[in-house]
């Protein structure tokens, strides 16, 4: 229904989404993000009009099976390629900020 209202996005919800998305937003960006999300969700709410009770969620458009292969190592070391674009590296490792305090 065109006049159905979605719950407005709270500061808390936006904060939660930013944590999930690993994004840091400025105050202006937060305002814009709230508006954008509210508008998008209001638009998406049209889907509520559909009676989907009789149908299963469809992830793959046509029948497909999982693909297996023998558990045999086929790749070589490849560490040079893997480290090719490393922002920071040390020997055969990527360097990142300390994770264990």
């Amino acid at each position: 229904m065109a006049d159905q209202k979605t719950d407005p996005i709270t500061d808390e919800t936006l904060e939660y989404v930013a944590i999930l998305a690993k994004l840091e937003l400025s105050e202006d960006e937060k305002k814009a993000a709230k508006q954008d999300m509210e508008r998008m969700l209001a638009y998406i709410d049209q889907l509520k009009e559909l009676d989907t009770g009789q149908v299963e969620p469809l992830s793959h458009a046509f029948a497909a099976e999982n693909v297996f292969r023998e558990d045999v190592a086929v790749h070589t070391d490849g560490h040079e390629d893997t480290l090719l674009n490393a922002p920071q590296k040390n020997g055969r490792c990527f360097t990142v900020p300390k994770t264990v305090i």
């Binding site: 989404v17 999930l20 994004l23 889907l47 992830s59 090719l84």
Partner: protein, 495 residues
């Protein structure tokens, strides 16, 4: 020699006949690119050195008789979300502005194996998220039919390059219409195959259940030839399907007698530009006059396709783009305190606004408490949409409709209202949701001289029906050449 007017197949024939060398073809392409780039900006990277080296290698093999395929020696431009070993691959983003892959995408590898020469990487909406190529970190691409207008997106660079006569053919990708819509806006032909037909190995993922690599060229014959080279089973992509019917050029036949073509009434309602409607329905008449049985029907669920698509695409994108965290490749922020801060700053600094918008929406719809109401709801809607298409294809061989509800908008207009922009995808997204093949080909221009594209949609694995109908229509119509391209027009005659 001006090679601008040739199709890819015609160019390959001249190369096999030794009328031109591969190096000449590549040099001419590079010259056209250089000449037209200041106007069009369809390329992010041009690899002149690499292309000429490839050309020499390919010429040797052609001379030795070991490369005899229909496209050997032909230059091609590749959308910048396909990995090319040793060649910058940016996805139109700051995040990958210095990323040089250590491997080549399977689709590109297959083209190279067939003797095609990669001349450069084309501009695109950032991470394929957009419909105008305006979200690219590297600036917009212009539509060669009118430089004040967008080429469409997200494969805008690829389609503009072909339309402008910079390169005879190109590779793009299609997740929600990203090859079909810009093909329509640029007056060229683009085809999205059935999901699983072309390997996605090395295609930077946006919506993994929707993405397909897709060729764009000047005509149906070239598209069929390209698709034939691209289509192959690849064990490195577990969603790739084993097919034994990929001899697509065998479908280049002028015959639509008895073909049942359905026109969805609900696609021709409000919001469709009158000139687009007229052109597309006229094209349907042409097919009817040639013996096809054309009739109207109700597809249903039309208005739910766009919201369902955006939930699913954004959800998948939010997951796929988690890998861009500054650790292993791409941008890393310079100042941060601790690992999580590095992640946040890196991503916030290097992703554009549209990408952030979609990642946030995607994260939200997948989060606890909302997953059922949004994500699963969208997947159930997808099931209903698939059922609607199954019902349609029980009665019809093909569905005929516009590729887009309007012609190319002016640059700067679309990003003001994202939802308005998303609505422009109304004819293309359902095709990706249902995994179907779709082709877009030019059927005319509007009063402002901007191209109009018709879309033909087939059932899963029915590319040959699409190609046959599209080819038949095309051979009956005047060749649409972009005035900007220059050169003399020539088109392949097929069978």
């Amino acid at each position: 020699m001006d090679l601008t007017g040739f199709s890819a197949i015609a160019l390959a024939k001249k190369i096999q006949a030794k009328e031109i060398s591969v190096e000449e073809a590549v040099r001419d392409t590079l010259a056209q690119i250089e000449k037209k780039e200041p106007d069009i900006h369809s390329f992010i990277t041009v690899d002149a050195k690499g292309a000429l080296a490839q050309a020499r290698e390919v010429q040797k093999k052609i001379d030795a008789g070991s490369l005899t395929g229909a496209l050997a020696g032909v230059p091609i431009a590749v959308k910048d979300n396909l990995c090319t070993k040793g060649l910058l691959t940016t996805c139109g983003s700051k995040m990958l502005s210095d990323f040089v892959p250590a491997y080549t995408a399977e689709a590109v590898q297959r083209l190279k194996h067939a003797g095609m020469v990669v001349v450069g990487k084309t501009n695109m909406d950032e991470f394929a998220m957009g419909s105008t190529t305006e979200t690219s970190y590297y600036g917009p691409t212009k539509n060669p039919w009118n430089l004040a207008h967008v080429p469409g997106g997200s494969s805008g660079g690829s389609c503009a390059a072909v339309a402008a006569g910079q390169c005879v053919c190109a590779l793009g990708s299609d997740t929600g219409g990203s090859i079909r819509q810009p093909s329509a806006f640029c007056g060229v032909t683009g085809i999205k195959p059935t999901y699983g037909t072309v390997s996605r190995y090395g295609l930077v993922a946006y919506g993994s259940s929707l993405d397909q690599v897709a060729p764009v060229a000047k005509d149906v014959s070239d598209c069929a030839a390209l698709l034939e080279v691209l289509a192959a089973h690849d064990p490195k992509d577990s969603t790739c399907v084993k097919r034994d019917d990929t001899d697509f050029t065998s479908a280049l036949v002028r015959d639509v007698k008895g073909m049942k073509i359905g026109i969805p009434r609900d696609y021709f309602a409000d919001g469709l530009d009158a000139q687009v409607k007229e052109s597309v329905l006229h094209a349907a008449d042409v097919l009817r006059d040639l013996g096809a049985e054309v009739s109207e029907f109700d597809l249903s669920l039309v208005k739910y396709a766009v919201p369902a698509y955006y939930v699913i695409a954004c959800a998948e994108a939010s997951s796929n783009l988690e890998r861009f965290d500054g650790v292993k490749y791409g941008w890393r922020a310079k100042q941060y305190e601790g690992l999580h801060d590095m992640y946040k700053k890196t991503r916030s600094e290097a992703f554009g606004a549209e990408v952030k918008r979609r990642i946030m929406l995607g994260s939200f719809v997948l989060s606890s408490g909302y997953y059922d109401a949004y994500y699963l709801k969208a997947l159930r809607t997808k099931a209903l949409i698939k059922q609607a298409f199954d019902k349609a294809f029980a009665s019809f061989d093909l569905i005929l409709c516009p590729a887009a509800p309007y012609t190319a908008p002016k640059i700067g207009e679309s990003l003001k209202d994202p939802i308005q922009m998303y609505l422009g995808d109304i004819y293309t997204v359902a095709v990706n949701l249902a995994g179907l093949p779709g082709i877009s080909l030019p059927v005319g221009v509007d009063a402002a001289g901007l191209p109009i594209g018709m879309q033909l949609i087939g059932d899963c694995f029915q590319e040959k029906k699409l190609i046959r109908a599209a080819f038949t229509y095309e051979q009956e119509s005047a060749f649409m050449r972009c005035p900007y391209a220059g050169g003399k027009a020539e088109r392949s005659g097929g069978k």
